[in-house]
């Protein structure tokens, strides 16, 4: 790292950070309902968000600071393989279009706050819902931790944090402050805080990327030159593996991996608790569908952003830690004040998803652990209270994770998180369309998928270490593919076989609370809860 603090960049960064902090606290009054003491209000923003708020919220939620740092970093490190993020985000929207409106409808009809609530209602199984809730919480924690890694990368490059000689307190103080503030306004404003801040975050991100994608290539002598230089760099041998560092297009033997990573990640993305939370906070089915037609704008941006990885190579950015490649590129080529804007974009880009993720994890804990197992008679106000405290604990946990453990641990767990979340597909998505699967079969399939996925991932060396790679040979196909998807196939197989067996021995089937018409209900239908706050009560719901 460079020595010394970049004063101008830091001043701009702090300015935006303060502005966002004020917004976070003011947000509690934004579109406030009369009775704010329930989980629907704190944890789902009153289920009142329209198309645009949902768009910003989901965009701020899914395309996180870590994404913005990690995707170009992957391209910087290996070229084409890192670009799978683009087909991944292309494929997730047709999937979302198909199943999430059904989840929205059934959740509104029955007042479900989390996806595990739905599973409990559909299959009448607290055990299955607990398994899925734990999977969600476990997968979300390292994800929050990675948001901190994003902020740390930016602070490092700005020279804040005192370098290697400072003691741990000085070093981590900026991070502690940022997270303390985040925790405070999430506690007081709930989901409304990240929804409001998402506007600033996305505006900044769009400005930075548009400027970067025009300004940097012009400065570096055009795309032709950039890719020529990158191609040259990738051909050079990696001393660790003895193979070329990367390639500009996927090699034939890497195509299965590319496709399965894209598909598997697309299937998992919207089952993360924080995605479900954002989706359920929207006010009608069509808000979700309409969002699948405007969210791809972020995918386009992600593609452009991935190109920055090549630009970092062409600009001769040399970093030991790949995560720093893009912040360093910005610091090298932009004037100081705009570097500050870019860093603020990344920093705030970490706060929004961290807030939503901690709310989502807290909702899971409150509804599917606290209420289901500890206090079945908890009142809505108690639920909101427990959730607020749980959101603090989740953040403290994530902070402890980052401060005490090596960064690669968070990255490994996030990778495992993707594999784990994929194992909730049969119960969740399957459950939205059919009740054929037996609840115990779903639990068995989940356990099989989790075990296989974790074991295989542990057994697979990655580019930089002996464990936690994400692609390995697929049995019976003999090509390398995404472990999560292989585990998912095993999961489905177990579910089908076990269902046949359990049905044959007439194992007791749980009670299904839902009716087929619940899955297509829309705002305004009889029995669907419309909880529009007074400010928007007159607005038409969705059409």
């Amino acid at each position: 790292m460079k020595n010394g603090v970049n004063g101008v960049a830091l001043a701009v960064f702090i300015f935006f950070f303060l502005a966002v902090t004020v917004m976070g606290f003011v947000a509690s009054r934004w579109r406030r309902a009369e009775n704010a003491d329930s989980l629907d209000e704190w944890g789902l923003g009153g289920r009142s968000f329209g198309t645009w708020v949902t768009w910003f919220l989901l965009g701020g939620d899914l395309y996180t600071a870590y994404t913005f740092v990690a995707v170009p970093a992957a391209v910087y490190a290996g070229g084409a393989a890192g670009f799978f993020a683009v087909p991944y985000t292309i494929l997730c929207y047709p999937l979302v279009f198909t199943f999430l409106p059904r989840l929205w409808s059934v959740a509104h009809k029955h007042g479900y706050v989390t996806s595990s609530d739905f599973v409990r209602g559909r299959f009448g199984s607290k055990g299955l819902s607990l398994a899925l809730a734990l999977t969600g919480i476990l997968a979300t924690m390292p994800y929050i931790a990675l948001q901190l890694v994003g902020i740390q990368a930016v602070l490092d490059v700005m020279g804040v944090g005192g370098g290697a000689n400072a003691n741990w307190f000085v070093k981590d103080l900026p991070l502690l402050i940022a997270f303390g503030v985040l925790a405070a306004y999430t506690y007081s404003s709930g989901l409304r805080a990240p929804a409001l801040i998402a506007f600033v975050k996305d505006a900044l991100i769009y400005i930075v990327i548009i400027v970067a994608i025009i300004y940097i290539p012009v400065k570096l002598g055009g795309f032709e030159h950039i890719f020529a230089k990158a191609g040259h760099a990738f051909a050079a041998e990696n001393p660790a593996t003895g193979k070329p560092r990367g390639s500009l297009v996927t090699a034939p033997q890497a195509q299965w991996a590319y496709a399965t990573l894209a598909l598997g990640s697309a299937m998992a993305l919207f089952l993360y608790p924080h995605s479900v939370t954002a989706v359920l906070s929207s006010r009608s089915r069509n808000v979700i569908r309409r969002n699948t037609t405007i969210l791809p704008l972020y995918s386009l941006m992600l593609g452009l952003l991935a190109m920055l990885g090549f630009m970092a190579i062409a600009a001769d950015v040399k970093v030991k830690n790949g995560q720093l490649a893009i912040p360093q590129l910005f610091a090298d080529v932009f004037p100081d004040w705009f570097t500050g804007v870019a860093f603020a974009a990344i920093g705030i880009g970490a706060l929004v998803p961290a807030a939503i993720m901690s709310i989502a994890a807290a909702n899971l804990f409150t509804r599917n652990i606290y209420k289901d197992f500890l206090r079945p008679d908890a009142s809505p106000a108690q639920e909101a209270k427990v959730s607020k405290i749980a959101s603090l604990l989740v953040k403290v946990g994530a902070l402890a994770f980052v401060l005490t453990m090596d960064k690669t641990v968070a990255i490994n767990f996030q990778l495992l998180g993707g594999i784990w979340i994929l194992q909730t597909v049969p119960a969740l998505v399957g459950g939205l369309f059919t009740r054929w699967c037996h609840r115990w079969a779903l639990l068995a399939g989940w356990a099989a998928g989790m075990t296989y996925g974790t074991w295989r991932a542990y057994d697979t060396p990655s580019a930089t270490q002996d464990h936690f790679g994400n692609t390995n040979l697929i049995p019976f196909i003999g090509e390398k593919g995404y472990i999560g998807l292989t585990a998912f196939a095993l999961n489905v197989l177990v579910v089908i076989v076990a269902t046949f067996v359990l049905r044959a021995v007439k194992a007791p089937d749980g009670v299904d609370q839902t009716k087929p018409s619940d899955y297509t209900a829309d705002a305004g239908d009889p029995g669907v809860r419309t909880e529009l706050p007074p400010a928007t009560a007159g607005a038409p719901a969705g059409h």
Partner: protein
Amino acid sequence: MSEPPEGNRKPVVTIPLVVAGVCLAIPFAAMLWVGSYSRVEPAFIGIPFFYWYQMLWVVISTLLTVVAYTIVRRHERTVRAHRGGEEQ
């Protein structure tokens, strides 16, 4: 897997709905067939085919989703109007 019986309202699968389904399925065929776009030429303003082609598909798949959205919304409105008429 078999669907549970739908009670009083059977879902109607119409030709437009099939078209919507096809629109949603096309991006999968295009993106999962990696061999079809895994090459450098033809480049566009210096960007290899591999990259600009996938970015182009962001736009194409969005348009396909818009078509599906229009079809599904129209379908739901008809069903709703129909159902409303029955109940009153």
